[in-house]
Symmetry: C2
């Protein structure tokens, strides 16, 4: 064994102790349960992927954030002996840690194409790793939580993803959220309609996406620097800011030339269908918003896009997604349409904690501590615990050598175990045991034969609801 080493975690990682685990499990269960209510099915993929699967999918900057795994054994020796090794770190690594859940999904689709039924509706809740610069609230290992529908171009799938998002946030009782919806093709049409060159779409989208942060002045400045003139700029601004009371009214009110532009036309039709579907699902209009400012950063979106913002706390989007018809097929060599969303479970934890939405969630603890009066009665205490567990009642036996009962009560108290059973020799000789309810301090004598039944009732009565 090595000499004492100071215990530190890897930078940007966290341990989840029991109470924190209970909070996370609760949110996770709501999300997973809702995924299943919509017929989504679980998938898990390994943490490590071959580097060639991961790189070149997320852009250059993201590629630098992929954690790479050193080759092993002879391959490592060979790589280190090679004259290249001083230059290309890529030579030294063959695997990387999963950066998101979408590229692994694309790989799974390519490898298991024939085993799946389409549309394939899958959810995946697993950690991803990014070697980001350390800052508060940003982690290098965090859980992603994705639902995607693969294999249909139908805009009904996009609407379903939005309805699913809304349902999850309703079930989690997140206050004051709004799902913003836009369409990449309407944005594309808008850029062309305003007179900007077709290939400047991404520049405009990226600038407009920052609107909330930098305002129109900032956007103008950024586009000016990219040689997009103020005439174009004004037209974009007028279109985007034009006010409305319903999405339908907004779309109907768009300039006829814009409505006629082919990309825009398709975008408008699909948006209309989406809002119609969402209305049929009974989703309140107040929680939805058609937002032409929304562009979403990632290059790979091709159709409807959506993200959820909340007023408080200021934390960025808590869900985000859209249609990406060209990514899933990257390993299959064909086009496979897909749409989906990430539910930002880590941010949702933060929001719920900040807004005190968790109430009294604590780690699951046993419902009963069976005290041990003396070595002579230990066997009886073990027997009682076994009976309780067989009846589905969680129970601990005091494990340390028998001590004063006060010490055993203190242990139960610290562990938030609500009941203590005391089976001392006097009680046992009378065919009885004592059940103490720690919250009130009250205690009752119960026939040993009816103990399990009686505790079941006490637990039932003790429920807060």
């Amino acid at each position: 064994m090595s000499p004492k080493i100071t215990a530190h975690r890897a930078p940007g990682t966290r341990d989840f102790l029991p109470d924190e685990m209970a909070l996370r499990e609760r949110v996770r269960r709501v999300i997973e349960g809702t995924f299943q209510l919509y017929g989504f099915q679980p998938l898990e993929t390994p943490a490590t992927e071959r580097l060639e699967i991961l790189t070149g999918k997320y852009g250059e900057e993201a590629d630098r954030l992929i954690f790479k795994i050193l080759k092993r054994g002879e391959e490592l020796s060979a790589a280190m002996a090679s004259p290249e090794s001083g230059k290309a770190s890529g030579e030294l690594a063959d695997l990387g840690l999963r950066y998101d859940l979408t590229v692994p999904l694309a790989r799974v689709i390519a490898m298991h194409r024939g085993e799946l039924t389409y549309p394939f509706k899958r959810y995946q809740i697993q950690p991803v790793w990014r070697a980001e610069r350390q800052q508060k609230g940003r982690y290098r290992e965090f859980v992603q939580c994705d639902a995607d529908i693969v294999g249909t171009s139908s805009v009904s799938a996009d609407a379903e993803i939005i309805a699913l998002t809304d349902d999850i946030l309703q079930r989690l009782a997140i206050p004051g959220y709004r799902i913003h919806i836009n369409h990449r093709m309407l944005l594309q049409g808008l850029v062309e309609y305003c007179g900007a060159p077709k290939d400047r779409f991404v520049d405009v989208a990226v600038a407009v996406d920052k609107l909330d942060k930098i305002g129109w002045d900032g956007v103008s400045e950024e586009l000016m620097r990219k040689n997009i003139g103020s005439g174009i700029m004004d037209k974009i601004r007028t279109t985007i800011d034009h006010s409305y009371s319903t999405p339908q009214e907004f779309l109907d009110g768009l300039d006829a030339d814009l409505q006629a532009q082919p990309s825009a036309k398709r975008g408008i039709e699909e948006l209309n269908q989406i809002f119609k579907d969402l209305k049929a699902c009974g989703i309140s209009q107040s929680r939805l918003s058609l937002t032409l400012r929304l562009a979403r950063g990632l290059d790979y979106y091709t159709g409807p896009i959506f993200e959820t913002l909340i007023e408080e706390p200021k934390i960025g989007s808590i869900t985000g997604g859209g249609r990406y018809d060209n990514l899933i097929g990257v390993f299959s060599g064909e086009t496979i349409p897909a749409t989906g969303t990430t539910i930002g479970i880590e941010r949702i934890f933060d929001v719920m904690r900040e807004l005190n939405l968790f109430g009294e969630v604590t780690a699951p603890s046993a419902q009963v501590l069976v005290a041990v009066f003396s070595e002579e009665t230990r066997a009886e205490s073990l027997k009682i615990a076994a009976e309780l567990r067989r009846a589905g009642i969680s129970a601990e036996v005091y494990l340390e050598p028998p001590k004063k009962l006060a010490k055993q009560f203190a242990y139960a108290d610290k562990k938030r175990i609500p009941f203590v059973v005391i089976a001392g020799p006097d009680e046992l000789s009378r065919g009885e045991v004592t059940v103490k309810r720690l919250s009130s301090g009250g205690q009752i004598h119960v026939s040993r034969d009816h103990l399990v039944e009686q505790i079941g009732k006490e637990i039932e009565n003790g429920r807060p609801d």
Copy 2:
């Protein structure tokens, strides 16, 4: 986007598609539920640990199996520029992937010492990574499933771990298993009693541990090579193989000199207490075995040790653990007693699959497919699905553009969705919908207003139990 790349997984890793996920989830839920019945609480730690935390804990051979993560940015450049980099791969990596769940537990105890209540009973179910040579049934990423009790030397804790193990295997209905129990101090005492030098304990333990594989002849040969004479050898064999009907009888029947040897004495006392506890818990003697051959490979065990073997299939131990009083404190700089077990969940999956114990477990699928008759009735179909989900009934809406109903039935069939709701214009005009049960092909007409209630009943009736 890069040109087409052949999709391969990282070697030794697996994808879990929905049906496989359902099997894994089922086993996991039983194990987790049983952990909680005994008052164990969940813990999760990050996948990555600093290399200095991981290395030097598992022995030299294991250290080579740790996946190491390449340094990043400037630190990598510096490491690669250094003249050392050609020699020491350790210079190039700063993190490693979790190799087991015990060292991370030790780190957590050191970092969160004051936040925990002792004895701290924690369970942890997370993947670990080992760069093992590839072979059938051996994976480089696999889930470990540990329960440990930290902070008490009481042998009651060891007994509880064994009782927990038995309870899990009972609940999973694993046939023909036996939990083998021994004590490192009894083994130590035995080695000394037989006349072998004290420091040869590990040699003897390692050889005896192979008994089932290589027989007494093999063990003799191996010990001979290590200069442990045949006189010693014979004495060991006689003691280990001496027959008995109960553990108590076996221990009582040991030679008086062995019983008086200090290490052996302590081991015998503790084993007696453990078997007494297990009897009190109601565990059938036929599932337990006192086995002096059991040594367990890992150096770090200090007290009782246990592992579970099954007759069929031949797969090695399916659980294994013991007391390890010197490991948890390695980062805390003090001795912290601990005992625990790994439930070999991956091997248990394999056993259950091999023995056909899973029955008809399939991925969770929706209970209802709401067909879409035409674009005009899509809104009503969406409304029906939303109502079903609000009532807790999982439902899909057919997402593709409306097609012949036969196609929609085929989709439901492939996805094992038992009911299809058809809300065509004729039916709707009569205030009705049709509910078709795919298994029988039978269908009923139901009032639109009572649809949710009616489907709830149909699902209830359709349950196999």
